[in-house]
């Protein structure tokens, strides 16, 4: 299938990406050819097949809910683009 410009813009919005005109054009055609290629999966009858989420199945592991000190506040904030201990700072949005 071929993606329309509106579809490409919709996907970009959902993915929180801002695309240039040239990118909309480029991704539109590249994604269309990739989607056309993945449609080869439609050749298979999978109506009676169970989906595989993980190839090696494992039950959810449980542990005791005990509070531990993992990282210090300062360490955790160190990589923030902007911070003021004990907070992440963000621009005013309202």
């Amino acid at each position: 299938m071929s993606l329309t410009k509106e579809q490409v813009l919709k996907i970009a919005d959902l993915a929180r990406l801002d695309l240039s005109e040239a990118e909309v054009e480029k991704y539109g055609s590249q994604l269309s050819s990739i989607l056309k290629y993945v449609e080869t999966l439609n050749q298979l009858d999978v109506s009676s097949i169970e989906p595989t989420a993980h190839a090696v199945s494992v039950a959810t592991p449980f542990r005791e809910d005990v509070a531990v000190q993992d990282e210090t506040l300062e360490k955790s904030l160190r990589n923030a683009p902007d911070q003021e201990v004990p907070f992440f700072k963000v621009p005013k949005v309202l």
């Binding site: 996907i11 929180r16 990118e23 999966l41 190839a55 592991p61 990282e71 990589n79 683009p81």
Partner: protein
């Protein structure tokens, strides 16, 4: 005379134990080599010479105090770390501009295990951005060159991990493999690359790409080193909920106990016919056929089998991996870490501009594809269908393993290609992983090992696949082959 940087881990271990070399001499040899070849190879994003030499000094002091004979296999040996492994206090970028200044507050489990085993970290290795690529050309930090031909790619996504070991800039490295990212670069640079069973090695503290497929493993100069590295990395980790709590065998002992005469007597090796297809490079095909003959001489019975859903692996992978990536990469929003756009017009604008400036074009393309296949109205048609095809691919392997010990295939349809050759066509690039991707979908362990050279001197690799958690089997088969041949003793000349 052979230089120290050309040796293997097990050879260095012998030198350390007999006090013929010190960790400081070994580490210095590596940094001298880096100074001489790194400007041409570009394997590293970050070098940590000062802390590495300090680590080496401590290692030598410890060797003096406890006695050289008691040291662990990786003790005092420089091991390069792919730049998507979190390293406390050392910049970790995942090859992306969005993490250009990220300094992790802790070590991931596998990095900590290597440090606890006494390994020395010389630096962080170049990689495709967020491990998305087959040639390491999507990195924000440039493309590592193949030490066998500097005009060619070293493979991806663990391109720096491969180039550095092949060039003598470290003795082994860590990699991650989501669709072939350890095995492909290993094959293109004459190394042994191991992708363990899904769940065998902890991913805690490794930057996620596609969580149902990602697995950590080593790149080394030979099979014995691969066994030594896997031993150090493997094991259950309560911090990774997909880590499986099952005993880890002694891989090194497993290799040593292999009989000298007809080591593979009684082994059944499956050769899937779907992996010998038209369009495959003639020299790769010939090298693989010759390897099969060698395995037969070693006692193995090689027989043709069928994995009928092979051709559906790449499309299945590009639905599942991109879907998972679009979700995993949602965390890069410019709030808690990573790049942030200044002066945004709104909150959504902050997210969009930060992400658009931070991510490169392949990452954006995959996020877009993953977002689309998960979006309302398309989820069943793409995502659920791909998960069902994944079941068929997994069952193909299960059936073959009912009657066979290991599976043998090529790793890459071609030897290393020229830089830029496939970069403009994403689909063409995706097909480079055609022989490795299904292994990830099935969660199986596989390794890549050297099995030949082209006329023009480019390495060729083959892949050996085992049943779940039977890494020792593929290591044994690979070791038997390696002992009978000399490919993995060849070093790139720079």
């Amino acid at each position: 005379m052979t230089e120290l940087y050309d040796l293997t881990i097990h050879e260095l271990q012998d030198l350390l134990k007999t006090k013929k070399a010190s960790s400081q001499e070994i580490t210095t040899s590596v940094f001298q080599r880096i100074k001489s070849v790194e400007p041409r190879v570009q394997a590293y994003i970050t070098l940590t010479e000062e802390s590495a030499l300090a680590q080496a000094k401590l290692a030598d002091e410890k060797i003096s105090s406890v006695g050289a004979q008691f040291i662990a296999p990786l003790f005092g040996i420089p091991i390069g770390i792919k730049d998507n492994f979190l390293t406390e206090g050392i910049k970790t970028t995942a090859g992306s501009n969005i993490l250009n200044n990220y300094i992790p507050p802790y070590n991931g489990t596998t990095v900590q295990k290597l440090l606890d085993a006494g390994a020395i970290i010389p630096g962080k290795l170049n990689m495709d951005e967020f491990a998305m690529g087959s040639s390491n050309e999507t990195s924000f930090f440039g493309t590592p060159k193949n030490p066998w031909d500097l005009e060619r790619i070293a493979g991806g996504s663990s391109g720096g991990s491969a180039a550095a070991v092949a060039a003598g800039e470290c003795f082994a490295s860590t990699g991650t493999d989501t669709g072939g990212s350890i095995r492909l670069p290993a094959a293109l640079t004459n190394l042994v690359g191991i992708k363990p069973t899904y769940g065998r090695v902890s991913r805690y503290g490794v930057i996620a790409f596609a969580s149902s497929l990602d697995q950590v493993g080593p790149l080394t100069k030979d099979v014995m080193d691969g066994a030594i590295m896997l031993q150090a990395l493997a094991g259950h980790d309560p911090k990774d909920s997909t880590s499986i709590n099952t005993p880890v065998p002694n891989y090194v002992e497993g290799l040593k106990k292999l009989p000298k005469d007809l080591p593979l007597k009684g082994w059944k090796i499956a050769i899937p016919k779907e992996y010998f297809v038209e369009g495959m490079d003639a020299e790769v095909s010939k090298a693989t056929q010759e390897a099969i003959e060698t395995l037969k001489r070693l006692g193995a019975e090689c027989r043709e089998v069928s994995l009928p859903h092979t051709q559906y692996g790449v499309p299945t992978y590009y639905i599942l991996a991109t879907a998972e990536a679009s979700s995993n990469l949602a965390r890069y929003d410019g709030i808690r870490y990573g790049h942030r756009k200044s002066d945004p017009a709104s909150l959504v604008d902050l997210y969009k501009k930060s992400r658009s400036e931070g991510f490169g074009s392949e990452v954006k393309r995959r996020i877009m594809l993953g977002t689309y296949v998960l979006s309302a109205g398309y989820y069943d048609a793409y995502y659920i269908r791909a998960q069902k095809v994944r079941t068929l691919i997994r069952q193909d392997f299960e059936k073959v393993f009912e009657e066979n010990d290991v599976i043998l295939t090529p790793v890459s349809p071609t030897p290393a290609w020229k830089i830029g050759e496939k970069a403009a066509d994403p689909l063409k690039m995706y097909l480079s992983d055609i022989f490795t991707i299904n292994i990830n979908l099935a969660g199986l362990p596989a390794l890549s090992l050297p099995c030949g050279m082209t006329q023009s001197g480019l390495p060729i690799g083959m892949q050996i696949v085992s049943k779940h958690f039977q890494e020792e089997k593929m290591l044994q088969a690979a070791y038997a082959y390696e002992q009978a041949t000399s490919w993995s003793q060849m070093r790139a000349r720079l």
